[in-house]
Symmetry: none
Subunit: 195 residues, 2 copies
DNA sequence: ACGAAAACTTGCGGTTATGGCAAGGTGCAT
DNA sequence: ATGCACCTTGCCATAACCGCAAGTTTTCGT
């Protein structure tokens, strides 16, 4: 099965060469700049050497061009997102963002249950923001035991013990933003539907 | 001479790992998908293998993420928050998070209109993510002209021309996340000049 | 808390790639 | 033609690769 990947692999070299020539840079220049022998660079550009990050990153830097431009990856994509749901802890997480690093967005679905679940608070590094879409969410953080209704918003530091579940046994849907780096402790509710 | 290059080289692996985990994909899944053994993938993610284009491109494709995001430069978000509701282009933006840092969260309300509005695509630095709460959203990006229904999600680079509006003249409510993405936030109130 | 299953890591070893050196092309301007 | 700058390539010791299968850790339902 041949995908676009191979085209890109084949064209990186020529691309690099064209780019270098367009800048009027010689192999000797490059070699001196990034500390790789001319021969290696030559073979890289002619496809006789693998393109490793060790080689590409200094080049991208030198040329001041994003990696994707070196590779020639197409920038056109359907902005809508269809990612496979993740099942964990009996809940369903639908990834809502493709972007790695930084903030992660999920739609979280807590299934209906005949009997209520025992809160088992968890702790992990990060910061969470959530928005209740529908259902009644039970949110336990520290000593607080809150019930959030659709439209309500909460944000809190996850380094404190916390737990999410259904408040009434019915299913709950919410949006979750998770920020791995957050170190701020705040708790607020009712931002969207203060009554 | 420390170039950022070295950091990036060291962090690609962990990055790949985090991304995979965030998507709920196992090494076995990946292995089957891109035809590379689990061990190789494991070592790649733990920095025991070089990151070659042969490995990175299929991964980028699998994750549907640009190469540069895989390699990932440090995220430099310049906090720039407007706590007050923002009115722009006849729309209302309700801040949903007070947290300083990169991502801004708003609830955006597009009012109902008797006659349809002419799409006037805008361009600005950043990255947008949106979730349609209710109503039918018309999203124009580049050549695409899409209608999104409640529950649908989109994300796109706002440096490409884009436009948001009602698809049927009715009001639309959506959640918007705006990510300055390395460039300072470009959010101004009262700059609702042209139409 | 427990135990089994799933997920991940790692030792191994034949095989292949790497990459600097230096010799050998290539082409262009004189 | 000839010199010079630029680029390519044979060589080969060294290092990296990478799948297999066995071992270890983590996960999660009970």
């Amino acid at each position: 099965m041949h995908h676009g990947t191979e085209d890109e692999l084949d064209t990186v070299g020529p691309r690099l060469r064209a780019l270098r020539r367009a800048r009027g840079i010689t192999l000797a220049d490059l070699s001196a700049t990034i500390g790789v022998s001319e021969s290696t660079l030559s073979r890289l550009e002619s496809g006789q050497r693998r393109a490793t990050l060790e080689l590409l990153l200094p080049l991208a830097r030198t040329y001041d061009v994003p990696l994707d431009d070196l590779v020639g990856a197409p920038r056109t994509g359907d902005p809508r997102i269809h990612l496979k749901p993740i099942r964990r802890f009996g809940m369903v997480f639908v990834p809502l963002s493709r972007r790695p690093g930084g903030t992660q967005a999920f739609k979280m679905i807590i299934p209906a249950r005949p009997e209520p679940l025992e809160p088992t608070p968890q702790t992990h590094e990060g910061f969470e923001w959530l928005y209740v879409l529908n259902g009644r969410l039970r949110l336990v953080t520290g000593e607080r035991d809150l019930t959030l209704q659709p439209g309500e918003v909460a944000e809190f530091d996850t380094s404190l013990p916390h737990w999410l579940g259904s408040a009434d046994g019915g299913s709950v849907e919410l949006l979750i933003l998770f920020d791995p780096q957050g170190v701020r402790a705040h708790l607020r509710t009712g931002t969207a539907s203060e009554t």
